[in-house]
């Protein structure tokens, strides 16, 4: 009975109670901090209490203390956390905002653990050397050899996969991003223009066209990979039947193609364009609907053609909506490991279509080069950050529509 229906429900209820208890302990700790922050004994007491609390939790929960160097690093970070929380309560929080800090603290701490700690650990890894041969030593003693900047040097100089260098991967990623974002924006904008007219069934069209974005991405990508199969996927079947109906196309070179073996990057591009157009369409449609009709009425009174209206009214007024969406789309496409890895990266696939992030994934988890991947990831992040800053600066997309009209 407990393994059937009641078991998982009790598991979840127990887990929820644990979370509630932790949040209550955290809030009580914060409340004491904020209430007693102006007593004389506050700072030394907080500095002493935090590591003791952490050690108490370790002993109670795990049944044993952490060994060796880990012990000191845990106590040290608990000390730092205790002192900084005490200083924060005493010198930075004034009475009126204490409730706000208390209420947002659990979410903030959860996010910090899930985001900040892995980031800090990754930076730590990138300066040391963790790979298959050093991992057992690290597990045993907590010691990793320090190698300085040599991992970063290796990122630029040596190759992550069999024979492709960082610069080739970089160029291929830039090409992949530019082509994909171009077709996303073109398709999304055209569809938004079509949908912006006074027609019937707009809701039905929008619902049907959002399907590629609404489907779980893994399912959609794997299904499309199956459809590009050279014998049983519908793309090649339709091309064969088209050749039967219109045989002159064979002379033009149209015919069934070995998509996954001969043109892996093209296949990934087609799949990603199909996936990404609905998002751009929805964003552009929102932007188009926010342009007031008085501009178009004034323009048609002045005798502007359709193309002139598009160029002088629609494009400038849709820029504050479109530029953040394009930047987001560019970042997502640059880092889109789902499509590349699921279509070509699994066993039996090819390495020709790898972009930076999929090469990173393979280096980390197939070849177990963890430190190299950490440095690689930080380099990719720096490149992407620089490119998106450049994009936002060049397009002046961060200004609002009113500032642009001046």
């Amino acid at each position: 009975m407990t393994n059937g229906l009641l078991g998982p429900v009790l598991d979840v209820a127990g887990f929820l109670l644990l979370i509630i208890a932790c949040v209550m302990v955290l809030e009580a700790w914060l409340y004491l901090h904020l209430k007693c922050s102006d007593r004389k004994w506050f700072l030394p007491a907080a500095a002493a209490a935090a590591p003791l609390l952490v050690l108490g939790i370790f002993t109670a929960a795990a049944g044993h203390m952490p060994e060796g160097g880990r012990f000191f690093s845990v106590t040290g970070s608990a000390l730092i956390a205790g002192i900084s929380a005490a200083a924060f309560a005493r010198y930075f929080v004034r009475g009126r905002y204490s409730l706000a800090y208390m209420l947002t603290a659990p979410a903030f701490i959860g996010l910090a653990l899930l985001i900040l700690y892995p980031l800090v650990f990754e930076i730590y890894l990138s300066f040391h050397d963790l790979k298959l041969t050093t991992i057992m030593e690290w597990k045993r003693s907590g010691y990793l050899p320090f190698v300085g900047l040599s991992q970063y040097w290796k990122v630029f100089v040596s190759s992550p996969l069999s024979d492709v260098t960082f610069w080739q991967l970089f160029m291929r990623t830039i090409w992949w991003t530019v082509v994909n974002v171009f077709f996303h924006v073109l398709g999304g904008f055209c569809l938004a223009l079509l949908l912006n007219n006074r027609i019937q069934f707009k809701g039905i069209y929008r619902t049907l066209m959002v399907i590629p974005w609404a489907m779980p991405q893994v399912v959609a990508v794997l299904a499309m990979r199956g459809e590009f199969h050279s014998q049983y996927g519908f793309i090649n079947i339709m091309l064969e039947r088209l050749l039967v109906i219109l045989p002159f196309l064979k002379a033009l070179g149209v015919g069934p193609v070995q998509w996954l073996s001969d043109h892996p990057l093209l296949t990934c591009t087609i799949i990603n364009v199909w996936l990404g157009i609905p998002f751009m369409m929805v964003v552009m449609l929102g932007g188009l609907q926010s342009i007031s009709h008085s501009y178009y009425d004034a323009a048609s009174i002045d005798g502007a053609s359709w193309f002139q209206r598009l160029r002088y009214i629609t494009l400038p007024l849709i820029k504050p909506v479109a530029m953040p969406a394009i930047t987001l789309g560019a970042i997502w496409t640059f880092n889109n490991i789902n499509v590349i890895y699921l279509v070509t990266g699994q066993s039996g696939g090819t390495e020709e279509a790898d972009i930076l992030v999929s090469a990173l994934y393979k280096a980390a988890f197939t070849f177990n080069r963890y430190s190299y991947s950490a440095a690689f990831a930080i380099v990719i992040f720096a490149v992407l950050f620089g490119l998106s800053m450049l994009l936002m600066r060049v397009s002046k997309g961060a200004e609002s529509a009113y500032e642009q009209q001046r």
Binding site: L195, N197, L208, M209, I211, F234, I237, M238, W274, P278
Partner: protein
Amino acid sequence: MNSRDNREMEESRKALSSHKRKETAKIFLVHILLLLFCVVCAYPLLRIFSVSLRPGDRLISTDLALIPAGAGFASYATLLKSTGFLRWLWNSLVITC
């Protein structure tokens, strides 16, 4: 005066009706293009559904029919009975909440 007014009314009525014809042609074109792209977007989903209906011994075939020959819900029955699908669904629900 009367005949000139009549002529002007005739011309404006003809202009209106040709404008209406252009408007109808444009709306027709818009509907066709939107329908085309809806088919492109929704067709893979329909293909997934039709492949899921195929009987177990004819899983790969070059037949493009939307409802395959010998269609049945046997795969769905296997999914619900032999895999932990309901457990996975509960997990997803819990994580979302």
